[in-house]
Symmetry: C2
Subunit: 845 residues, 2 copies
């Protein structure tokens, strides 16, 4: 659990980063061709196999030939995003049905057991606990990556980091089923944010269909597709296409390509269409309308004099949103810190969700405490009632008229409407913040929306109480519409928690009425103003909690980023290798530093930067130089020509080793081990965990063990050779000059200058998904800036020139986030599996 294990993880993760990002896949095309050839050879039944250049148009698979032709005629993208939309619409609709059934189940049990209060309680709580247990267990067993909202992870993936197993079929199944059960349990969870992940999963899986084979293998295109797919997620759940796309963009991206936005729009239109059409066909509704349709008066929705009240609601929502994020993070951090508790939870991962569910479900029990806070209602039902266009009170007393459906539960003989609304809001508030720490798939959007609606309704009812005849001074009397306040509150609170403006659009689309646009906009703007200066968004907060490799957002007030320069934050003491260094230098530098990639200079004097070489590449060079194969060859050669063995070899080892099939044009080094009858030696760069199979020499073993904390080298076949002789031989080998001929050198595509501003650096890093960049002065290397330095500078932990980098109001934010000194991450992001290899985000090539 401790030190070395986590170090190992860090390294794996670093390796994956390195692999995901710095591999200059010079030979990707050749490799694809080879894979395709192999695959085709398997299908011997196909006689008409052509090896023509695959430009994405010609079909190679008989049954799909015409389909492919058709697709290429219309355009793959249109077809793909049509299918994605269709599929997402179906998924969304099917899940909706399942969730409603599960929720009805709980009510049915509750109704059947009404003879015995305790049994009823047991049934109510037991049902929730059972569903959550199933959800958590299923997630744990099938794909732990499915837990959580997924937005934070998608944000990281789109930033260019490869997170393993996040886009697989297993995760899809786990996410969909667990989410349905988690929501069916009646916990205050939502399904909006997880749908961003589900949509991306759908996109990733669809792109692997045979018809689309070869189209989305290109990494750029794959990432573009993922970006568009992300945008589809929310829209199809809420049948709010426009707001959904915007919301997905706001919460997932720093920079967004307008191209992807179009694709997202196209797809979400299809998704929303099918989602709603299915509802009509299923006879739920007569035609396509909004999900939570309101019936406010359209001629005079609100008075201008009400604007201050809406603004006030926005400001409260802002504080509420910040508090929500803070509370959630505190709970998550508290649970992480309890070591005893934590180890216990690690073993019995179901204990925690069961405890939480038990607590929340007990409080919501409709015959118990739940009667004071409309515990009976599901979230959707609660929202519908809260958006009611009538006023619930008259002079402070609950009105007696026929409430729509469930609205009657808000009235309680002992408590006024104000009381139930306040209780509802406050209790749900912390319940939701607590519930979204459970290891199940969850979203916080819908519960927060409902809480916001509750808060808004409360303010609205108060306004209606204070101004029973409305505020308008004209001829007609326009009473105040508390439902309008509910709409505005919903938009404001959800906007504050997620730091987005598009909740306005989403809420208006949900209600089907646009009349409250202006007050909603004002409230959301104010809520965002408050919340953004106090806390990060819930998704950024989760990124911080999970310690995902992501750059924090630049806040509004941080104008210092324009004044800080790269020279203020860069690391000046750069470790490097030169073209003329020896293998011993290489060894030393590998032992000394833990950098993922090392800069290659022309010479130590000129300091001219030629590019960078990955650590794994260098390790491979070393291992090759000291490999058993080479040693045996040397011994053989010594046998043949005894005298010349000690003269320095100027030829590179791989060149005179005839058994090495160097894929020079690819930049890849591949040794056919079959020819050597030896275990793989140079597969190391692709998978470090293979090093146990490696029969490295003494030095090599020491360096790999030291530098990578890999598993101990088990293979002791080397003991047959006298160790001293090997050491001697290795020492000689180490003195040779490194031959970089077959080494992949990544050009330093982005070079910064000392005077580049922090803002520009941030922009470049975000835009191009960089992890580090070298700082040069007329070609000479003078420093390096990595994402770590950037993060530090942006988070304000650096004071430069007497300028504190943090924004004025950020002290609260900093203190609550300062616990990130431990940069360990628990990502299991290693070498991507074969089918992912092409999709791995790479550097600018």
């Amino acid at each position: 659990m401790a030190g070395d294990r986590s170090d190992h993880r860090v390294l794996q993760y670093e390796q994956s980063l390195m692999y995901g990002r710095y591999t200059q896949e010079l030979g990707v095309y050749a490799k694809e061709e080879a894979t395709r050839l192999k695959e085709s050879e398997k299908k011997v039944s196909q006689p008409s196999r052509t090896l023509e250049h695959d430009d994405g148009c010609c079909a190679k698979f008989g049954p799909f030939r015409w389909l492919k032709f058709l697709i290429s005629l219309i355009g793959e993208d249109w077809i793909f995003f049509f299918l994605l939309g269709l599929f997402m619409g179906l998924t969304s609709w099917a899940m909706e049905l399942g969730i409603i059934m599960l929720q009805k189940g709980q009510k049915w049990i509750y109704g059947r057991l009404d003879s015995n209060g305790f049994l009823q309680y047991l049934g109510w709580v037991g049902y929730s606990v059972a569903l959550i247990m199933f959800s958590a267990g299923f997630t744990q067993i099938v794909s732990p990556q499915a837990a959580g909202s997924g937005i934070s992870e998608m944000k990281t993936i789109l930033r260019g980091v490869l997170l393993k197993e996040y886009l697989t079929f297993r995760t899809f199944v786990a996410k969909v089923i667990s989410l349905a059960f988690a929501l069916g349990s009646g916990m205050p969870l939502g399904k909006e944010a997880p749908f961003v992940h589900i949509a991306s999963l759908c996109g990733a899986l669809l792109s692997k269909l045979p018809v689309f084979r070869g189209i989305y293998e290109n990494e750029s295109r794959y990432r573009e597709m993922l970006a568009a797919a992300c945008a589809v997620g929310v829209g199809c759940v809420l049948a709010a296409p426009v707001g959904g796309v915007l919301f997905s963009i706001e919460v997932t991206f720093t920079f967004f390509a307008v191209r992807s936005y179009w694709r997202g729009f196209f797809s979400v239109t299809i998704a929303a269409f099918f989602f709603r059409v299915l509802a009509v066909w299923y006879k739920d509704e007569e035609t396509v309308t909004a999900l939570f349709r309101t019936h406010f008066q359209v001629d005079f929705p609100f008075d201008l004099k009400e604007i201050p009240a809406f603004a006030f609601l926005g400001i409260i929502s802002g504080f509420g949103g910040a508090l929500f994020v803070y509370l959630n993070r505190r709970i998550a951090q508290f649970i992480k810190k309890q070591k005893l508790f934590n180890t216990f939870l690690m073993k019995k991962c179901l204990v925690y969700p069961v405890m939480v569910t038990f607590l929340i479900s007990s409080l919501l029990f409709p015959s118990g405490f739940g009667q004071f806070m409309a515990g009976e209602l599901t979230q959707n039902e609660a929202l519908v009632t809260l958006l009611d266009n009538r006023t619930w009170t008259k002079d402070g007393v609950a009105e007696e008229f026929d409430y729509i459906g469930n609205a009657r539960v808000w009235m309680h003989p002992q408590v006024t409407v104000f009381g139930t609304l306040a209780l509802f809001t406050i209790m749900r508030f912390w319940m939701c913040a607590l519930a979204i720490t459970m290891p199940v798939p969850y979203g916080a959007f819908m519960p927060v929306l409902v809480i916001g609606a509750g808060l808004g309704r409360l303010v609205g009812e108060c306004m209606a109480f204070w101004f029973p005849d409305g505020i308008h001074t004209g001829h007609a009397i326009y009473p105040i519409v508390p439902g309008g306040y509910a709409v505005v509150g919903a938009a404001a609170l959800s906007g504050a928690v997620s730091h987005s403006f598009s909740t306005v659009v989403m809420v208006l689309e949900l209600t089907g009425q646009i009349s409250h646009l202006l007050p909603a906009l004002i409230a959301v703007v104010l809520a965002n103003l408050v919340a953004q200066s106090l806390q990060p968004s819930i998704y950024d907060s989760i990124i911080k909690i999970k310690k995902l490799p992501y750059l924090p957002e630049l806040g509004w007030g941080q104008h210092e980023v324009y004044n800080i320069r790269v020279e203020d934050i860069m690391v000046r003491d750069v470790q490097y290798i030169t073209l003329s260094c020896s293998y011993r230098d290489l060894l030393n530098i590998l032992m000394k530093s833990r950098l993922k990639a090392l800069p290659l200079l022309k010479s130590a004097e000129s300091m001219i930067l030629l590019g960078s070489i990955e650590r794994a590449q260098l390790q491979s060079l070393l291992s090759q130089q000291l490999s058993r194969a080479r040693r045996l060859q040397c011994i053989k050669e010594r046998g043949a020509e005894e005298k010349t063995i000690l003269s320095t070899e100027s030829n590179p080892p791989s060149n005179n080793n005839s058994s090495l099939q160097t894929g020079q044009e690819e930049g890849h080094i591949q040794i056919t081990n079959e020819e050597l009858h030896l275990p793989p030696v140079v597969e190391r760069p692709t998978d470090l965990s293979n090093s146990s199979q490696d029969e490295s020499g003494v030095t090599l073993r020491s360096i790999f063990c030291a530098s990578s904390d890999a598993e101990e080298v088990q293979d002791d076949r080397d003991v047959q050779d006298p160790t001293s002789e090997i050491t001697d031989w290795e020492a000689r080998q180490l003195d040779e000059r490194v031959n970089f001929n077959n080494c992949k050198i990544n050009p330093a595509l982005i070079q910064l200058l000392e005077c580049t501003s922090l803002h520009k650096t941030y922009t470049i890093f975000s835009l191009l998904g960089l992890d580090h960049a070298y700082v040069t002065r007329i070609g000479r290397l003078i420093g390096v800036v990595s994402i770590k330095e950037l993060r530090k500078a942006i988070d304000g932990s650096m004071t430069l020139k007497g300028v504190k980098v943090a924004p004025p109001m950020a002290t609260f934010r900093n203190s609550s986030l300062s616990s990130s000194q431990n940069e360990t991450t628990y990502l299991q992001a290693v070498r991507p599996p074969e089918e992912h290899a092409n999709n791995a985000p790479k550097h600018v090539c």
Copy 2:
């Protein structure tokens, strides 16, 4: 007009590009300080001037000290964007008032002159012509840059190109006043697109206010501010904040920062609020509602079976949109081609708009042909009537009920409603395409929206005619609502013309009803699908017509961009200079090539790229080496030490020339000519047109004249020296090695690889606003890619590996755009004025 003149312009433009982009303003800070010092010195009345480090927080101006402190406390951005919103709201409202007054003026005249048909006609047409004449004349005199929509130019500016005079106060005044008059004339023009320009102008001007001094001087921040300001434009005109922001983003950006989107949202909320509140205060309305409020039934807005009709409408709109763009471009190109006509127009710039206005106004004359096409209505009035929620016909005969206000004009005794609608649509269609070629400020959005509404209404009325009892099969009868079709048609046609989806949101915000969201989305998606595969958007089309330096958008179908690599499109024969080259080499290369910047290599053997040097820098080096000042100095020195004069000087000229105040720390070379009592010599890099004042030697003169087509060197003071002696001296000077010590070397920040895909190259160029990038292989220069090659590759004029790059349906598009072989541009973008210098987009530093 011909060759040399346009060449000169090209050069000026290239120079400006070079200046705008490649200047590595290492000394920007020092320069700013100097400017500030000067300014402060002017204000001698202020005793407390401190020279402290300006970090944007401390105030230097007494009266603004506290204001600045307050601003820095709240955050400059919030304040700035609040002010921007407020100002835009006021501007928009004031313009609206002015336009309405002008439009009423025409109707008043028409009404007063109804006694005499011909007088009435004269009054009607004369009024329009007079207003357009004023508008065109005012634009021409005050600021020709104010003509046009401005979106194309803003797109280019945000792309990183500096367009001179586009963001000045003069332009603002010209744009606002001319636009009001142009719209008041009743021509089919809109004010939405120009407001993007106006908002950017407002932002640029506001940022120069004393309170914001020093805050938006940073170039990154300035550009970010412009991006957000752009987003404000449309929203405040239509009181459609959400749709407006989205529309501005869609039409202006390729990549968008979510940060800017938030700022835009904030600002547009303020703007829309004030715009609408002013309307309420002005007693136009009782409260804040939508501009063109509709009153459709909300319970059953449309039947699902109507979706095919909406889809059909979308497809027609798509073709219509493409045709509109094609027609507009054809007209513009036709007029440009007519040489005789053109020179005539150049001289009398008012003739063309008068002709166009006369034609259109005559056709619209309400008592004439206009009676068949509702010529009497202004665009807003027409839109209101078209969105009427009742059906105008019953069994093909016009219904007789009390039409809202002006709707009666659609009924004509001779022509059916279908006829007037069709005529309205068709006539307005070409009229608008023609009108937006006039040299006045214009937008095409609103007219196209109205045309789309007309088209939609036509389809809707047809549907109502074919299905008088509606399509619904249930119990209730829901008649078809033609107004709904008008809404959908408006969104679809405007979406097709501008290639945007957000028109949906905008139209729904305009009508205040969201019920037709789904059909509108479907129609817009289909319209975009059709239009995007046939034609570029109207704004891209204008960019092509104006030959602005912008990359075309990547189309949907262009999946080949992923397969083409940089090596396929790069220029391999790169001209370069080396560290060890002589001045003669420099001279030769400057004579030979016309590149804006030349790569600097370590040596011709190693080919290692160190960076690039601007042409102007090199010219400055040369002119310095061969300058009269230096020659005189040499003669003086020769006089002093006769013997050593011919020995090669190893010291750089600028170092032993004590009268040269080299701003070494700034990287600038400045010679104080006052000390030398000579005209300026090395001011050349900043302004090439000064070369006539220069007393260059023979060689120098020849190279400048040859390479820049500058005006002939008039100054013949050199004749007093024997030319042969000068030539000899120059020959000796040219053999010296170039001293790059004081030369600004721009590091090649972005280096591409041979295998970088076209798509990635495009992305990098777009994101970072590049103009060219070098292609390297392990530090060695092997080629260069400029925006020209990229444009060619994307436009499909390159066939590579047998792959035609253009999308399948683009033949029509290509043939119509192929007339761009002449890359001449008429931008007058030279060295930016002093106050712009800091805002000039620079390279990554």
